[in-house]
């Protein structure tokens, strides 16, 4: 591959990643606010974003840290919540061109998110490492910057405004599952069941010992298992947003 092709691929990746970057800037702003509202420092929030690059897993992880949960609970929560990336990683492994070294595979796998996977999958033919580098770097920078801005805003904004912005991250979640539930009855059933179990674990006194992290794990396994058995997907899916 000539350096011209490499540069063109890199630029193409960067161009394709602009909408993802803009979205991440705003989502991670919400994550930063949430982290600071939960008592974490801005630095901790930024390091979490730089090392994790995922919204739901980070929100759950911040919850576990804030509640002083166990390490096993943290690991299991991350495993269940982020399990979908394994499927995406598997699917993406079939799409990489022959130029990928072990090192570039190790690097690219770090950048697998719902959105980056979706865009890479949507490209016709194989993708090069330069394209993937472009596709991942801008969203990574935006994710980090947004967390920093959100964390700082969380420290200086008046309480009321900070509280109001605290709901933003949930707004993002709602924006992902409501349209999907509208389109597919299976998703609707899974979301409703999961929400119902989540409420049961929270409000029924006998479950009061179940922590937030385990609650998400229980809901996810039961509801997604129910969906897989009762509403199996015909086509192979990447899932996620």
């Amino acid at each position: 591959m000539s350096s011209n092709t490499a540069r063109a691929d890199l630029l193409n990746g960067l161009k394709d990643s602009v909408p993802i970057g803009l979205g991440y800037l705003s989502v991670s702003f919400g994550v930063g606010i949430l982290a600071v509202n939960s008592g974490l420092s801005v630095l901790t929030a930024v390091i979490i974003s730089m090392t994790n690059l995922t919204s739901a897993g980070q929100v759950a992880g911040i919850g576990v840290i804030a509640a002083g949960g166990g390490y096993f609970e943290m690991a299991l929560a991350q495993l269940i919540i982020n399990l979908r990336y394994a499927l995406m990683s598997l699917s993406l492994s079939q799409k990489l061109d022959g130029k990928f070294t072990v090192l570039s595979r190790l690097a690219v796998s770090f950048g697998i998110t719902d959105e980056i996977f979706a865009v890479a999958s949507g490209k016709s033919g194989e993708v090069s490492k330069h394209y993937m580098a472009g596709l991942i770097s801008l969203p990574f920078a935006a994710w980090t910057l947004g967390t920093l801005l959100g964390g700082c805003a969380g420290e200086i904004l008046p309480d009321r405004l900070k509280d109001a912005l605290g709901i933003a991250i949930y707004g993002m979640f709602i924006a992902i599952f409501v349209p999907a539930a509208r389109k597919a009855v299976g998703v609707l059933a899974v979301v409703l069941l999961s929400a119902a179990i989540s409420c049961a674990l929270r409000y029924i006194p006998v479950f009061s010992g179940v922590s937030q992290g385990f609650s998400i794990i229980i809901c996810a396994v039961i509801a997604a298992g129910f969906g897989a058995v009762c509403f199996p997907k015909a086509e192979e899916g990447g899932g996620g947003s």
Binding site: I167, A168, G171, I174, V178, L193, S194, I197, G227
Partner: protein, 99 residues
């Protein structure tokens, strides 16, 4: 120090999930049930993380409920992520200013 361990676990587990399949496997998952399960996991996770937590996210149940209603309506009519999120915050803020 404890925070460092938490972050190491988060980052380590999340990275392994992403890294292992791309390094190890070369064939597709054939089981429809497994594929369907993985497809539904994100929605199950988001449903459980949002409800009922969203109603406690602003410190005021009324403001949170208003934010949830606004987000739901905006999402139902297919607005973008950022629009839905801002609608939630704006509605919650409006209720806080009124009460």
């Amino acid at each position: 120090m404890q925070t460092v361990i938490y972050i190491a676990i988060m980052a380590g587990v999340t990275y392994l999930i992403r890294m292992l399949p791309i390094m190890v496997f070369r064939r597709k998952i054939k089981s429809q049930v497994v594929q369907s399960f993985l497809y539904y996991v994100p929605y199950a996770v988001l449903g459980a993380m949002t409800i009922p937590a969203v109603f406690y996210s602003t410190g005021s149940m009324a403001a949170s409920a208003a934010g949830f209603a606004a987000a739901f309506a905006a999402a139902f009519f297919g607005r973008s992520l950022i629009t839905v999120a801002l609608a939630a915050s704006a509605a919650a803020y409006a209720v806080m200013l009124i009460f």
